[in-house]
């Protein structure tokens, strides 16, 4: 059976670090329609923060650009897409390795993708050098107890 989309949203932001909090809080508020636990909300917030920060500091290298965020709600799942039209990633496999960073001088730790992978159920990364990067992640929201 096809999964049915219950709700959908889209946000576009300028690549300013001040927007990171807005992005994760907005997605978390949207996700709350699925009645997630506090823990699940925390995982979503952190993962969105990682993806949006990556778009700003790596994708756009702190120059001006647009970060797009889309989210879809299914019966028991949220799908979040974060994309930029920035520099792109040369070697995605290497980028996803724990502790791999190209910005160690800026106090990055290379843990962003590892955190997204651990906190979400699925993570896919598509990227083309010079064109940009798209990160899609999904998380199951477990229904506990009875639904009314």
């Amino acid at each position: 059976m096809e999964k049915q989309v219950k709700n959908e949203m889209k946000i576009e932001l300028l690549s300013k670090s001040a927007n990171e909090a807005f992005a994760r809080i907005s997605v978390a508020a949207f996700a709350s329609q699925l009645d997630p636990t506090i823990e699940e909300i925390a995982d979503i917030k952190t993962s969105v923060s990682e993806a949006v920060t990556n778009a700003i500091i790596h994708g756009y290298n702190n120059t001006e650009g647009i970060v797009k965020i889309k989210a879809k709600l299914y019966e028991d799942e949220i799908e979040i897409e974060v994309s930029d039209t920035g520099s792109g990633i040369e070697n995605i496999e290497e980028a996803r390795e724990p502790l791999y960073t190209t910005k160690g001088n800026l106090e990055r730790s290379g843990m962003g993708f590892t955190i997204m992978e651990n906190f979400m159920d699925e993570l896919s990364v598509e990227s083309i050098v010079g064109l940009g990067t798209k990160v899609v992640m999904t998380k199951k929201i477990k229904k506990e107890g009875t639904t009314y």
Partner: protein, 110 residues
């Protein structure tokens, strides 16, 4: 961030009062390095009591201050690390290098 100086112990406490992301950590980093360089503490403690949210920027912030403190011969510790934060620090494997302590007092006595 609130900064507390304990002169006789050469102890510096950074009480973080905001969410820790890329944006806020750059501001905190500048202030923290300034304080460490000025005070040259023997011991620096990050108090996360009031931190609700943290992403990987928190890892970079803590490792970076570990380096600054070490360059003056000081050590770095963390306290009041909630479950969310602990998971992230554990994933990064830094808890051996930068331990979590129960309180400021215990260490002083022990």
């Amino acid at each position: 961030m609130n900064v507390k100086h304990f002169m006789e112990d050469r102890l510096l406490v950074f009480e973080i009062t905001e969410d820790l992301d890329h944006h806020s950590s750059e501001i905190i980093r500048r202030r923290a390095d300034y304080e460490i360089q000025r005070f040259m503490p023997k011991r620096v403690v990050f108090d996360f009591n009031r931190v609700v949210f943290m992403d990987s920027a928190g890892i970079g912030l803590v490792i970076g201050r570990y380096k600054t403190a070490s360059s003056f011969g000081g050590k770095l510790e963390m306290m009041h690390v909630n479950e969310n934060l602990r998971r992230i620090f554990e994933m990064a494997g830094i808890l051996k290098m930068i331990p979590i302590v129960e309180s400021l007092e215990k260490e002083k006595i022990g």
